[in-house]
Amino acid sequence: MKRKAITREAQLLLIGIPVFLWTMIPIYHLFLFAISGRDSATSGRLWPKDPTLQNFSVVFQQHHFYLNHFWVQLGNSLVIALTVGALTLIIATTAAFAISRLKVRGGRLVMNLALFTYFIPAAFLAVPMYKTMGNYGLLNNQWALILAMVTIASPYCIWVLKQASDKLPWELDEAARIDGASPLQLFRLVYVPLMVPSLVAVGTYALLLAWNEYLYAFLLLSRDDSVTLSVALGNFLAADDSPWELLMATGFIYALPPAAIYYAFKRYMVGGLTAGAVKS
């Protein structure tokens, strides 16, 4: 019995250690660059001779040509990600409620269409999306990116929430109806409170999707003070002589919020996104 447990532990470590290294080595190098001076950044050492926080100071004080709009761009990323998260949440929650609980006509069709969108890679739609936003006069407007990201995130979120909704006991709706709840009250007072774990998971998913987006942000936004930080990071590579240490320092800062959010909500992420994955 005991031996079995030890073997099992060993097996887990055998898988765990490579996965850990695989994940952490790039991040470690990112960090290494970020705390190295300009000259020692590519020296190949595992720990810099004179570790410094100078790069972060340059970034925060916007003391570089590529970083002139750092705070604005960070703000853009934040505003866009939060808006996408909130909008997606509203759309997906109401859609899932209508389809799963109110059983509106055409619900199945909507679900099938939502699934169908995943047959087409998002990159395929980039140019049509660019054209569409142009038609509406939204190019270079942050709403273009917000709407595009909501479009991309919603179908998946509707699916996840619909699956989770289906697991709520049907009697709760009936009890609420007999208690006198209108559909809106049912939504507000019973449905949403019970869906919180899934809502957090789905909201975080949409938020991080928008935060990490590069392609659409690059296409739809172009002014320096309207682009997101991900695009600004890409712009570092426009020069022959890129300031790698600053790129990495900025990248490190850029990676912190998702890590924090993920850590804060990890309890919901695993439970929420897999809820409804199996029939219980």
């Binding site: 006991p169 009697e171 709760l172 009936e174 009890a175 609420a176 109806r177 007999i178 208690d179 006198g180 709840a181 009250q185 007072l189 019973v190 409170p193 019970l194």
Partner: protein
Amino acid sequence: MATVSFRDVKKRFGSTAVIHGVSIDIDDGEFVVLVGPSGCGKSTLLRMLAGLEEISGGDILIDGRVVNDLESKDRDIAMVFQSYALYPHMTVRENMGFSLRLRRAENRTIDERVMQAARILNLDKLLERHPRELSGGQRQRVAMGRAIVRDPKVFLFDEPLSNLDAKLRVAMRAEIKQLHQRLQTTTVYVTHDQIEAMTMADRIVVMQDGIIEQIGTPLELFDSPRNLFVAQFIGSPAMNVFDGAVRDGAVEGLAASWPMPPGVGAPTGQQVQYGVRPTDLQLGSRGIAGTVVVVEPTGAETELLVDVGGQQLTVVTHGRVTAKPGQSIKLLPDPARVHVFDTRSGQRLQ
């Protein structure tokens, strides 16, 4: 308080008819139990009364008013579900006050009514707990509390005790009956358990395959079942039934001659089903011969399985019995309490 009437109520799911024209009149303050095997349509009937299922034909009236097209919330009914259906995110207090809150009652009124109901149901110490922190019986009481807080015209119960263990079920049965005696609210109660029906009901409606087999008080159903189905469904242990044929004012069956009930006449040769309840067979020195197969003493009474003419009959006698398996005994049916059913129609001959 209110009367409830079903008038030729029908229900179809797609092309399948599940309730074929049911009519019941329930008096003000009456406790009516709908009972039948699963799939007989009893729950569907209740859900139609609750407004949770559309009515395909006929009318349902509450207090003389047709409610067919009325929303659940406008019917002034309260329902207790088998799964309790408590709101998991609300405390007991919030669960019980929810319907009043939706009706925009004043906080003071809500508090008073919830406290009142909580005292009746012994829930006053649990008001701040969540449903997950309660036992099955407590949850069931909260579900009832949620119903009585509103002081509705009609209580509906949909198999409310099925999720409880046997001991608790008996206790809750008495509690629900007490509650009804105290509040005198018209109640419709659905169950598949005939003992629940017998012990709780003022009147029982026995259903099968979407039709009513018989409506009556528990003892009416027990003493004068209209047909074989009701006879076998009501009563525990179940009625002994065997094939027979009428000959010279008696029934020949199981290689013996059984007495006809007084006042019942049937032509010689008619094929019948003969029914006699386990309590209506007495052990004696004369009568129909049989062999004891199993003896099951339960203390107050003894249940015997007796082989008569190749079929096993159940016999229940009060007190102790000295009979041993394999022993020959004589059974004496009480002619006033036996039943004869027409084999073809299943109807009781009277």
